[in-house]
C-alpha cells in the first residue's frame, strides 16, 4: 500500500506541477489519487431534486435564525445548511448509503454574489462553512456506523459559477461591458473556498462552469487559499456544455475548455448538467487526451416538457456503463434529476470496470480561444497576426487613439479570417491609458467570435497591462513578454502570476546587462531563464516560448553580420537543450536595411524562416500568408540571401543590394502586403473587385453604398462594377486560379450587394426591367445530380439573372411547358449520368418540334463539347452551348445576353462546333484498330494455375 502511495505520488507530481514546488499535497489529495488509481470513483447525485422532495416551506428556510429577514428565502437551498442542517445531513447520508465515495456540499451559490439575491451576502462564508461541516459530519457518522476508514469517503466543496459571467456583456449595446470583474470573482471564490476548507472539505469542486474565465478566477482563488494553508487540495473542475452546439455558454468547445485549464494543477476535469449521459459521450471523447482524470455527472436525460427528467436510474447507469467500458472516465455521478437510486444503479453497474487510464503528458503546448489548438514538435509553423499592434500598424494606432473600435476590431477579424493562428494585441502607446484600453479592447474582441476563436497573444512592455489583459480572456493565450532586465526576483514574480492565470509565456532574451545579441549571450540568457522557471516555479516547459531577438542584418556593420546565423543557431540550441520549449520571433526587423524593396524583403524573410524553422523556430510574428515559397525564389537570389543570413561572404550585403536594384521593378503580387488592409485605400470599384476575388464580405455593403451617389442609376452599379468583379471571379475560376469555395463565397457577396441596391432600384422605377435576363435551369429526367446546376444558379442569380430552377428529374414536357409560361432567354440543362445525354437530345428535338428558338446551355459531368456538337446541336434550330463549369457558364450566358456580342458569339460557336463535328467524323472514319472479340477472348488472362481443363492442376 505504501509503495503504491509513493508511486501515485510520483505520478501525481509529474502530472500536477504544484504552483510552488514547496506546497505538499493534502492527505485528501493522496487518498483520492489512491482510490482513483484503483477504480472508478462515485460522486453523489442531485441535491436540488432531493430538497424538492422534502416540500419545505418558507418557515423551514428561515428557521429561528432568519425569522425577521426582509427577503423571502424559499429557493435559497444553500441557506438550509444553516437553518435545516438535519435535512441536509440526511440527504448526504442517503447518497453515502447508495455508494457515493464523494458527496458534494450544498454550497453551490454560497458566494457573496450568489447570496446577494437573498440579502445574505454577509453570510456567504458561514453558509460555505456550515455546508462543509454538515457534510463532514455525515461522512464521519456514516463511516463510523459502517466500520469504514473516514478517509475512504470525501467531502467535495461545491463551487458554482455564480450568476454573473466575466466573459460576456450583459448589455447588448455595449459588447465591452461586464457585470463582474475577474478580481471580484477571485474575492468571492476565495471566501467560499476558505469557508469550505475551514468547515472540513477534502476536495474543491468548481462545477457547472459555463464561462472558463469565471473558472479561472475560482482556480486562482483556490490556489491562493492552498498556498496560505501550505497544502494542495484536490480541485475538480466540471464544465457545462449548454446544448447541442457543443460549447460552453461563453463559447468554448470541450477541448478549448481543457486547454484553458491544462496548466493549472487540477485533479480532474469533466462535465456536468444540461445534458443527459447519452449526450455527454462525444464531449468526454473530446477530452480523452487530457492528462488529468476525467469526471462526469450528467442529468437524468434531457428535461421533458414539464422540466422534469424521465430517464430511469437503470437507463442512465447502462449508458454510463458503456462509457466506462470505453474507459472514458475516472469519476462519475449524477446532476439534475438524479437520486440515491441513480447512484446505487450506477455504482452497481460500474463496479469492477477499470477506470480510464490517465494519459501521459506529451508536453505539447495547448492553447485555446473558443477553439483549442495544440502545438507539438510535428506541428506546422504557427503564424501570429501582428496587425493589431500600435507600434506595427499606423492605421491601427490611429483607430485606437480616435476610439474607432469597430474598425480596429475589423482588422483583427480580417486577420483571423486570413489565417492568423494566434492574434497579437499590443496597445503600448504614450498617448493613451494602455491598461484601461487593453481591458476595454480585449473585452470587445472577446465578444467577436471570429477573433475569439483563436488564441491571443497579449503583448506589452508593461507587466500590469499583461496582468490586466490575462484577466479578460477565457482561453489560454500567450503573454509577450517578460525578461531578466530587472533581475531574477521580478522575473520570477511575474512568471508566477502568468502561471497562476494559466497562460503561456514569451521570455525575451534580455538580462541585467541588456539585450542578448550574440550566440553565446543568447544561449546563456535563455538557459538561465529556463532553469529559473523550471527549478523555482516548476513552470510547464511547454508553456515557455523564447524570443532570442531577431535583429537587423545587412546594415553594413561587421558586428551585425552574424545576427542571422546566431539566431538560427540559438533556435537549434534551445530545441536541443531546453526540452519542450518553443521559439518565437518577429521577422520584419530582420530585413529593415532593405526597406523600400518589399520583394527582396519578403524573399529574405522566406529564406530566413525556412532555415530558422528547420532549426526549431516554431512561432513567428509574420505575414506568412504572403511570403513567397522558399523553393520559388530564384536560385541566384536565394544564394545571395543565404550568403547574407549565414554571413558566408563579406560582400553579401553589397551584392544583394545591387541585385535588389535590378529586381526592384519586378511585379510582386503582394507588394502591398505590409498592410493587409492597404486595398481599402483604393477606389470603391477596385475594393469591390478585390473583396470579391478574396471573398472578404465585411465591407461589401458599405462599398456598394459608397457607389450609389456616383452612379446615375443603382442598376448601373450592378451592371458595372459588380458584374465586372463577378466576371473576373468567373475567369479566374476558369483559369484554375480561384477555387470553388471562393466562388460560392463571392456569389453570396453579390447577393448582399444586390440586396443593398434593390430598394434604390425599386425607387428609381425607370420602367425598364433591371433583370439581366431570365434563365430556366433543370437537371434532366432520370438524373438528380444538381451540384453544378446549383452553383450555376447561385452565380447567375447573383449576376442579376432571374433563375427559374425546375429542380431535378425534370421531364422534357415539363421543360417545354415552363418555356411557355416563363419565356426565358436561355435554358440550362444538366446531367451527370450517361443516359442524361439522350435526354438532352430529346429536349433539343422537342424544342425544334415546338418551334422554340431559345438557346440551350449544356452542362454536367456527362456532357462534353464533342457530344454537344455532334449529337445535340444538329437537332436544334437554336444555339446549343456547352459549358464546362459554373464560371464558364456564366461568362457564356453573358455573351449571348449582350446584344453587341451576340452575333460574334454565335458565329464563333458554330465554327467551333463545325470543327468538332469534322474531327469526330474523321476519328470515327479512321476506326481505331480493334482486336476481334473472338481473338480477345482467346487471349484473355488466365489467373488460374496449371492447365485449363478443370482438373484443378
Amino acid at each position: 500500500m505504501n509503495l503504491q502511495k509513493n508511486y501515485i505520488m510520483q505520478i501525481s507530481k509529474n502530472m500536477h506541477k504544484s504552483m510552488k514546488s514547496n506546497i505538499p499535497f493534502s492527505n485528501s489529495y493522496l487518498s483520492l489519487a489512491d482510490l482513483c488509481a484503483e477504480r472508478i470513483v462515485f460522486l453523489d447525485g442531485a441535491f436540488g431534486t432531493m430538497v424538492q422532495r422534502l416540500h419545505l416551506t418558507e418557515k423551514d428556510f428561515r428557521d429561528d435564525m432568519f425569522q425577521n429577514h426582509p427577503v423571502e428565502l424559499t429557493g435559497n437551498n444553500d441557506v438550509l445548511c444553516l437553518t435545516a442542517p438535519q435535512h441536509i445531513r440526511d440527504i448526504h447520508t442517503a447518497y453515502l448509503e447508495a455508494g457515493a465515495d464523494i458527496i458534494e456540499t450544498n454550497t453551490f451559490s454560497a458566494t457573496r454574489i450568489g447570496q446577494a439575491e437573498y440579502g445574505l451576502q454577509d453570510r456567504a462564508y458561514d453558509i460555505a462553512f456550515a455546508g462543509a461541516r454538515v457534510a463532514r459530519e455525515a461522512v464521519n457518522s456514516f463511516c463510523e456506523k459502517n466500520g469504514r476508514n473516514v478517509s475512504s469517503c470525501f467531502v467535495a466543496g461545491s463551487m458554482g459559477p455564480t450568476s454573473k459571467t466575466a466573459s460576456m456583456s450583459p448589455d447588448v449595446s455595449d459588447p465591452a461591458a461586464r457585470a463582474v470583474t475577474f478580481s471580484e470573482l477571485v474575492e468571492n471564490y476565495q471566501e467560499q473556498a476558505r469557508g469550505l476548507l475551514d468547515g472540513g472539505a477534502d476536495i474543491l469542486l468548481v462545477e457547472t462552469v459555463f464561462d472558463t474565465l469565471n473558472c479561472k478566477a475560482a482556480l486562482l482563488a483556490i490556489m491562493n487559499e492552498c498556498e496560505k494553508r501550505g497544502s494542495l487540495f484536490p480541485v475538480m473542475v466540471s464544465g457545462t456544455i449548454t446544448d447541442s452546439s457543443g460549447r460552453l455558454l461563453a463559447g468554448q468547445t470541450a477541448k478549448a475548455f481543457w486547454h484553458s485549464l491544462s496548466s493549472y494543477p487540477v485533479f480532474s476535469i469533466g462535465f456536468n448538467c444540461a445534458l443527459g449521459a447519452r449526450e455527454m459521450g462525444a464531449h468526454l471523447r473530446d477530452i480523452q487526451n487530457a492528462y488529468v482524470r476525467v469526471s462526469v455527472h450528467p442529468n437524468a436525460g434531457l428535461p421533458n416538457e414539464f422540466g422534469g427528467y424521465n430517464e430511469t436510474p437503470e437507463e442512465m447507469a447502462e449508458i454510463l456503463q458503456e462509457f466506462a467500458s470505453e474507459k472514458l472516465m475516472n469519476i462519475v455521478g449524477g446532476c439534475c434529476g438524479t437520486t440515491p437510486e441513480t447512484i446505487r444503479a450506477i455504482a452497481g453497474k460500474l463496479t469492477g470496470i477499470s477506470p480510464r487510464e490517465v494519459p501521459e503528458n506529451k508536453h505539447h503546448l495547448l492553447l485555446s480561444g473558443l477553439d483549442g489548438m495544440e502545438v507539438s514538435r510535428e506541428s506546422r509553423f504557427v503564424n501570429i497576426g501582428e496587425r493589431m499592434n500600435i507600434a506595427g500598424s499606423l492605421k491601427f494606432a490611429r483607430l485606437i487613439r480616435e476610439k474607432k473600435y469597430a474598425e480596429a476590431v475589423a482588422i483583427g477579424i480580417e486577420q483571423a479570417e486570413n489565417g492568423a493562428q494566434v492574434i497579437d494585441v499590443n496597445l503600448d502607446d504614450g498617448m493613451i491609458d494602455t491598461k484601461e484600453e487593453m481591458i476595454h479592447f480585449l473585452n470587445l474582441i472577446m465578444s467577436e467570435p471570429a477573433i475569439a476563436r483563436v488564441p491571443l497573444m497579449i503583448d506589452s512592455s508593461r507587466f500590469e497591462v499583461l496582468l490586466a489583459g490575462m484577466e479578460c480572456v477565457q482561453g489560454k493565450g500567450i503573454v509577450n513578454s517578460v525578461s531578466l532586465k530587472e533581475g531574477e526576483s521580478i522575473f520570477l514574480e511575474r512568471a508566477r502570476k502568468v502561471r497562476e492565470r494559466g497562460f503561456a509565456l514569451v521570455c525575451m532574451a534580455f538580462d541585467e546587462q541588456g539585450q542578448a545579441d550574440t550566440l553565446a549571450r543568447r544561449i546563456q540568457v535563455c538557459e538561465r531563464m529556463y532553469r529559473l522557471l523550471r527549478d523555482k516555479l516548476d513552470f510547464p516547459a511547454e508553456d515557455i516560448l523564447f524570443d532570442p531577438n531577431i535583429l537587423t542584418i545587412g546594415t553594413g556593420m561587421a558586428e551585425h553580420a552574424n545576427y542571422g546565423i546566431d539566431f538560427i543557431e540559438t533556435c537549434r540550441y534551445i530545441r536541443e537543450n531546453l526540452p519542450h520549449a518553443h521559439v518565437v520571433g518577429g521577422v520584419s526587423n530582420l530585413s529593415f536595411a532593405f526597406r523600400g524593396n518589399n520583394a527582396i524583403r519578403e524573399s529574405i524573410h522566406s529564406c530566413f524562416l525556412y532555415h530558422a524553422g528547420k532549426a526549431g523556430m516554431d512561432f513567428g510574428i509574420v505575414n506568412a500568408g504572403v511570403l513567397p515559397a522558399y523553393e520559388s525564389i530564384p536560385e541566384e537570389e536565394r544564394t545571395l540571401i543565404e550568403d547574407l543570413i549565414f554571413n558566408r561572404n563579406p560582400n553579401a550585403t553589397d551584392k544583394l543590394l545591387t541585385y535588389a536594384q535590378s529586381v526592384k521593378d519586378r511585379g510582386v503580387v503582394n507588394n502591398n502586403n505590409a498592410d493587409a488592409l492597404a486595398w481599402r485605400k483604393e477606389l470603391p470599384e477596385e475594393r469591390i473587385m478585390y473583396a470579391m476575388i478574396k471573398g472578404i464580405d465585411r465591407y461589401i455593403e458599405d462599398d456598394v453604398r459608397e457607389l450609389i451617389p456616383k452612379y446615375e442609376k443603382a442598376v448601373q452599379i450592378i451592371e458595372g462594377p459588380l458584374m465586372n468583379a463577378m466576371n473576373r471571379v468567373g475567369e479566374l475560376f476558369g483559369e484554375g486560379k480561384l477555387f470553388l469555395p471562393q466562388v460560392v463565397k463571392s456569389a453570396r457577396m453579390m447577393k448582399l450587394a444586390v440586396s443593398v441596391l434593390l430598394p434604390y432600384i425599386e425607387a428609381e422605377k425607370s420602367g425598364e426591367n433591371f433583370k439581366a435576363g431570365k434563365i430556366i435551369m433543370a437537371t434532366v429526367k432520370g438524373d438528380v445530380h444538381d451540384i453544378g446546376k446549383n452553383i450555376v444558379s447561385v452565380v447567375l442569380a447573383c449576376n442579376h439573372y432571374e433563375v427559374v430552377d425546375l429542380g431535378v428529374m425534370v421531364p422534357c414536357e415539363k421543360i417545354v411547358e415552363a418555356m411557355k409560361e416563363h419565356k426565358p432567354d436561355m435554358v440550362g440543362l444538366s446531367g451527370l449520368i450517361t443516359p442524361s445525354l439522350d435526354e438532352m437530345v430529346t429536349v433539343a428535338k422537342a424544342f425544334k418540334r415546338e418551334g422554340l428558338k431559345t438557346p440551350l446551355i449544356i452542362g454536367g459531368a456527362a456532357a462534353s463539347a464533342v457530344h454537344t456538337a455532334v449529337k445535340i446541336a444538329p437537332e436544334s434550330d437554336a444555339p446549343v452551348i456547352y459549358a464546362s463549369d459554373a464560371g464558364q457558364g456564366a461568362t457564356l450566358i453573358e455573351q449571348w445576353m449582350n446584344p453587341s456580342k451576340r452575333a460574334e458569339f454565335v458565329r464563333n460557336l458554330q465554327e467551333r462546333q463545325e470543327f468538332l463535328r469534322a474531327e469526330h467524323a474523321k476519328r470515327h472514319g479512321e476506326q481505331v484498330k480493334l482486336t476481334s472479340l473472338e481473338e480477345a477472348r482467346a487471349h484473355g488472362e488466365n489467373h488460374f494455375n496449371g492447365c485449363d481443363c478443370g482438373c484443378s492442376h
Partner: protein, 288 residues
C-alpha cells in the same frame, strides 16, 4: 504459406457467412479513419497542400460534427455472397443456400484494345470450370442528408449545403472502404492471417464494367431498396446520390483496369447476352 495460397489460387473460398447481410446505424465516426480527403479537395478543385485546403477541411470537420450531432444522416450497408459459375464473359449466380437454384446472370465486357497482348475482363478472375464465389454490395452514408441539405439551402446557406453533400460523398466512399476491409477479414474472410489486403470492388458504371444497368442485377440480388433504402432509378442512378454499389472480387491477382473501346462484334454479343437491343447498349455505354 501465404505466398503459396496466393499464387495457387484455385477459386475463392466459401465465405464464412454466405447470403445477404444488412447493416444499419453504422457510427459515422467509425468511417473517418477510412476517409481520403484528397478526393474531397479534388471535388472542390482545391490543391491538397494549400492553405485553402486546410480551411476547407476545417469547415468540413465542423460540418461533420454538426451532421453527427443532428443525426442528419445514417450510414447503412447491404452485402451478399453468392456462388457463381463462369459462363464465357458472364457469371451465372446461384442461391447461397442452394447452389443449384440459378438467381441471375452478371455480364462483363472484355477489352479489345491492348498493348499487353492479353485482353482483360472481370470474368477472368473467376474459375471457368469450378464453382466460384462473388460478393455484392450497396452502401450509403447519405441516408437522410437530402433533408438536411434542403434545410441549409432554405436558410440561404448554399455553401453549407454543398459542403454537406461533398462530405457525405466522402463518407460513403469511406464506408465502402471500411466494409471492404471487414469483408476481407471477417464476413467473407478470405484474407489469410497477416496477409496484406487484396481483392477489388469494381462498380458498374466505372471503367472496368462501364455498363451501369448491371446495377439492376445487384438490386435483384441484394434488394437494397427494401433493406437499406437505396433506390435505383430507371436510368440506374442510385438515390440517395451518395451511394455506391458493386462487386467484391477476391482473386489475389485482380486489378482495376479500363475496358476502353469495344467493337461492333462485342456490342452485338453483349446485347444478345443481356437480351436487349444494340441501341440500348450504346446508350448505357455512351457510344455515339
Amino acid at each position: 504459406m501465404i505466398v503459396a495460397a496466393l499464387t495457387n489460387w484455385e477459386r475463392s473460398p466459401k465465405p464464412r457467412e454466405p447470403g445477404v447481410h444488412v447493416f444499419r446505424e453504422i457510427p459515422l465516426e467509425s468511417l473517418l479513419p477510412f476517409a481520403d480527403w484528397n478526393y474531397f479537395y479534388f471535388a472542390w478543385k482545391v490543391p491538397a497542400a494549400s492553405e485553402e485546403a486546410l480551411r476547407l477541411k476545417e469547415e468540413a470537420e465542423e460540418m461533420f460534427r454538426k451532421i453527427v450531432r443532428e443525426r442528419a444522416t445514417e450510414a447503412r450497408a447491404v452485402i451478399g455472397f453468392f456462388p457463381v459459375q463462369r459462363n464465357g464473359d458472364s457469371l451465372k449466380v446461384y442461391a447461397a443456400e442452394d447452389s443449384r437454384k440459378e438467381l441471375a446472370e452478371l455480364h462483363f465486357l472484355r477489352q479489345q484494345e491492348s498493348a499487353a497482348g492479353t485482353f482483360k475482363s472481370l470474368a477472368d478472375y473467376f474459375n471457368p470450370h469450378l464453382e466460384d464465389w462473388i460478393g455484392l454490395f450497396a452502401v450509403s452514408a447519405g441516408l437522410g442528408i437530402g433533408e438536411f441539405q434542403k434545410d441549409l439551402e432554405a436558410r440561404g446557406d448554399s455553401y453549407g449545403a454543398l459542403l454537406a453533400k461533398t462530405l457525405t460523398d466522402r463518407l460513403t466512399e469511406a464506408l465502402s472502404e471500411k466494409m471492404h476491409r471487414d469483408v476481407m477479414r471477417s464476413y467473407w474472410g478470405y484474407l489469410p492471417e497477416n496477409a496484406e489486403p487484396f481483392g477489388i470492388r469494381p462498380a458498374p458504371g466505372y471503367p472496368a464494367c462501364p455498363d451501369s444497368s448491371e446495377l439492376r442485377t445487384i438490386w435483384k440480388l441484394l434488394s437494397p431498396e427494401e433493406n437499406i433504402g437505396i433506390r435505383l432509378t430507371e436510368n440506374c442512378m442510385m438515390l440517395p446520390l451518395s451511394s455506391t454499389s458493386g462487386y467484391y472480387i477476391a482473386h489475389p491477382q485482380s486489378r482495376y483496369f479500363s475496358i476502353g473501346k469495344i467493337g461492333e462484334d462485342q456490342l452485338r454479343d453483349y446485347a444478345a447476352r443481356k437480351g436487349i437491343s444494340v441501341e440500348e447498349v450504346k446508350k448505357w455505354l455512351r457510344i455515339f
